[in-house]
């Protein structure tokens, strides 16, 4: 696939943005293959989650981003952006799918396949 470079089979990363494109607070939406992905720069790195709530599949890109968390605009569930884990609301125990990221030479790369979602409520 154009834009990916392979480290090994199943471990491919695509360049999705320049680091300077990421806002200090908030996220951008990018495409990674067939996935819509949200990308945010937090104080300890760049993180990526799938743009789809694990409860009722709503998109998340018009949710609220605060304290390193993303809220679902449909039912208000709150997810930790780093791990994808549920932090607020009791409608699901299943977290968001996250993607590994890499930053090289001011460019942001996202792995082409998501990680399995984490299960359970994350405490603050």
């Amino acid at each position: 696939m154009v834009g990916f470079y392979g480290m090994s089979d199943g471990d491919q990363f695509a360049r999705v943005a320049g680091l300077e494109e990421l806002p200090d607070r908030g996220f951008i939406q990018v495409a990674v293959g067939e996935y819509s992905v949200l990308l945010a720069k937090l104080d300890d790195g760049v993180y990526a989650t799938e743009n789809q709530c694990s409860h009722a599949n709503s998109t998340l890109d018009d949710g609220r981003f605060r304290l390193g968390r993303i809220t679902c605009p449909l039912h208000g569930l709150i997810f930790d952006f780093r791990t994808g884990q549920v932090m607020g609301g009791s409608l699901t125990m299943v977290g968001l799918r996250t993607f590994d990221t890499k930053v090289q030479e001011e460019q942001v790369y996202v792995r082409n396949e998501p990680n399995e979602p984490k299960f359970g409520i994350m405490k603050r």
């Binding site: 200090d24 018009d62 949710g63 605009p73 039912h75 208000g76 709150i78 607020g88 409608l91």
Partner: protein, 481 residues
Amino acid sequence: MAKIEAEILSRREPSSEREYQARPFLPRKPIPNIGLERIDGERFYSEAFMAEEWEKIWTKTWQIGVRESDLAEPGAFQTHELGKESFIFVRGHDGQIRGFYNVCQHRGNQLCTTEFGKTRAFTCPFHGWQWHTDGSLKEVADPQFFRQFDDGVPEDELGLHPVRVAFWGGWVWFNMNPNAMSLESYLGELGSQLESYDFSEYQLVDYQTFEWGGNWKHAVDAFNESYHFCALHPDMVQFGEGHDIPIELVGIHSRMLNFSGTVSEVLDEREEMTPLRAKMMETRLGIGADEYQGSASEVHFEVVKHKRASQDETHHPYKKMNDEQLAHQYHYTFFPSATFTQKPEAGSVFRYRPHPTDPNKCYYDFFILIRNPPGTPLPEYEHRVHAHGEAPVYAEAFEGTFDPILANVLQQDGSNMETMQRGVKSAAFKGMILCDQEVRLRHFHQNIDRFIDGTFSCEVNAANQPPTSGLVRDGGLLRNE
């Protein structure tokens, strides 16, 4: 009169006596005589009394809800709990902030289960009914299942139930009584005085809730007098004066002046700059020990001098403030549940909330607000809730946002909640005996009684509206002159 008052008045320059929005306390007005009767203990634990308070006070008076700045974007919402009710405050996609009861109009489920978020439309997780952010009905899921709707869904009847909102000091206030007097009228003269601080310019940096094992009125009472400083907070008298301070009852609200940058007259050595006094001078008042070598009891004069010298350059509203405001803590309580403790640069807001069902518990909300330079990005505070029985070390809970010595003072205040709650239930307790320095408590409990017995009503145009200014009304009991 405290010694410091005479010291201030003897050095007050005539030029500093121009009229300010916040009227100075000094020279102090006599503390009004509003009676000597004991205050009963039953009001603190009676479920019947709690029910009366809900019916006659909580659902009829103005309360602080959320910060306006937390509703910056269209669709942004915050939820807030008061007693048995939950509310949603939301900025609609038309830009207007509104308040609603957090209740689905279908089966009564709570609509929003999280404290903050942003939505396109509120969607009940149970059956999927939806409402626009202006509260109007968007969609009933499968309306064909409802024979009641054979002739069409009655959208006018099915909107979210609104709660009245108004805005003051950067806060969204709310009132469950749609016929209540305006917030501006309610806050009255004291509200007008506090506008000199420009609260809407303050940024919320910390918000913590403590579930305390005492009735909410114990929490109000704990902070509305400084008579307890010497016994409960021995540190506080080292760098402030809370002994015999000016107090004013203004309508149903009240204020007092806690002196800062001084040493209490209850101590013998007021002049010496001890390490504690020097530390508090630096952290609370911003004056380093190398800048000031004078008496520890007169630091406040230096504070006024410093702030006046910088008033043309600073973003702080020193120019609008009288000298007392520059150096000392203005402490205002709006009936029944909001306290503002203020310095020009920062302040704390206390909000007292009843437990939904148990008169033996309450919620004490502590907000720290700072007036940062214009353009400072909004701090992202985390609202932390400390459940009863899981009390933190307060100095650790407030690390980075509140001086540890003052956080410990707050812990000392909290430590009384459970012991007060137990004590007032004792057969040996014959009612509270309150001194003049505790007159705000007497005033507060008298106001509670007046709301409950119907003497006061906050309905607009009601003949028995409570006074909200210092002006004496016909039959008013509130005199400061």
